[in-house]
Point group: C2
Chain length 243, copies 2
DNA sequence: TAGTGGTCTAGACCACAAA
DNA sequence: TTGTGGTCTAGACCACTAA
């Protein structure tokens, strides 16, 4: 995985992109670090400069790196704008907002998938799914309620970990080799029902963001169905648009 | 404007990108149309194939075109996903949702910019701004309230047009040569106050999306400060994320 | 001054779509 | 079979950064 395979069907530049991306994910290069130059990588992997540039361009498009002429290529520091473009952990999200994140696990359980859940995760209704319900805190105050649903056979025993401490994404990557590469989501503004109002410490019918997100692995398999309720009075979404 | 200037400071591929982009904006090429091939454009503008490809890649990144090997490059058909990535007109937004759009102008007026508005539009407080307040309908039912604020000196007489019929963006482009190329926005979930509840036909405190958007011209000048309230029970935001 | 990324070229071979 | 876009190379010159 740390070299380019000439016999692969995958183009060189995509192979190099995957290598660099994995290294960034794994913390080999950290935000602010300078990556090797185009020339260095060309020598290391025996690739032409243009091919190396193609891999870098993909990373730039992902917002993972930025480049400065005369200086080098650097791992990007996450920004609050990325919340609507990249899959980002609650912890990182809160830190970018200058808030101190916290987590309480409300409940975990196995159950049979409803028709709705089953269709989103592309399984038969009744398939065993793992549920993880967490209350998210910012500076000690409730911010969000998150309900994660996973197909249990794809990650058996996933509920054994303590997700007050470990990010779910990291557990999926480390224990099952599942990397979330893509997601699609719907965002609604909804009123808080009684249960949510109590959990989040807001009034009944207070406005909440309700986000339904399906995340896919690199192979295109739907891995997680996430439902998040954010407090409308505390949570703001930011993003940039192009004409 | 329809040829590449070798003496310009702007790279060829960016010049070509601007040319093609303007042509798409102006409807020279419509969604689904096939664009000229790389070879054709290379001959037309006397550019190498790689330079033409760079321009095409920018258009692909913008989501404006897609390319099919062996077939050609085509103008993309807008999708509902683009609402959080591209500046899109209410009319097109509703059509993508399969709804019939309508518009009523609530009021237009000139006034002095408040401190908040002034700072967003990068002018002095008290500067004369033009306000345009519209009620947006979908299938005849209220969907959104939009309040556009523009610096009047940048588009004198802008309020003379009938914005129940003409898109504001088109008027800015046609009458003042102002093209909105970039925007930044904040999205909140807020309760409807009495005035909004009446305008939108919802209950007091019903959840609404509240979007504040500043749009910038190609020169980086803030042109429009837009405030939109969408009905939470009818409006859904969609988007895709990358890992 | 040395090293970096930005732009641009000419040319090659390939996979794929359409006629 | 022809034309399309996809990948890859070697090489050149430039603008900019940092030492």
């Amino acid at each position: 995985m740390d070299s380019v395979d000439p016999d692969s069907q995958t183009p060189y530049y995509q192979q190099l992109y995957s290598i660099l991306r994995r290294q960034i994910d794994d913390g080999v290069w950290r935000p602010g670090d300078r990556l090797p130059s185009e020339a260095e990588l060309g020598q290391t992997y025996d690739l032409s400069r243009i091919t190396v540039r193609q891999a870098f361009e993909m990373l730039v498009n992902d917002g993972l790196i930025y480049r400065r002429r005369g200086s080098g290529s650097y791992v990007a520091v996450p920004t609050i704008q990325q919340g609507l473009n990249r899959i980002i952990s609650f912890t990182d999200d809160m830190r970018q907002r200058g808030l101190h994140p916290g987590t309480r696990v409300i409940s975990t359980r196995l159950e049979a998938a409803s028709a709705d859940v089953a269709s989103r995760l592309n399984v038969e209704p009744g398939t065993e799914v793992a549920l993880l319900e967490r209350l998210r805190l910012a500076d000690g105050e409730p911010m969000s309620v998150e309900i994660s649903t996973l197909v249990h056979s794809r990650c058996p025993g996933v509920l054994d970990s303590d997700y007050a401490e470990i990010p779910l994404r990291r557990a999926l990557a480390d224990r099952y080799g599942i990397h979330l590469e893509r997601a699609a989501q719907e965002i609604r503004a909804v009123p808080a029902d009684m249960a949510l109002a109590l959990q989040l410490g807001v009034a009944m019918r207070a406005p909440l963001f309700y986000i339904q997100r399906v995340s896919f692995s690199g192979e295109g398999v739907p891995v997680e169905y996430l439902r998040v309720y954010h407090r409308g009075d505390r949570y703001v979404l930011y993003n940039e648009l192009r004409g």
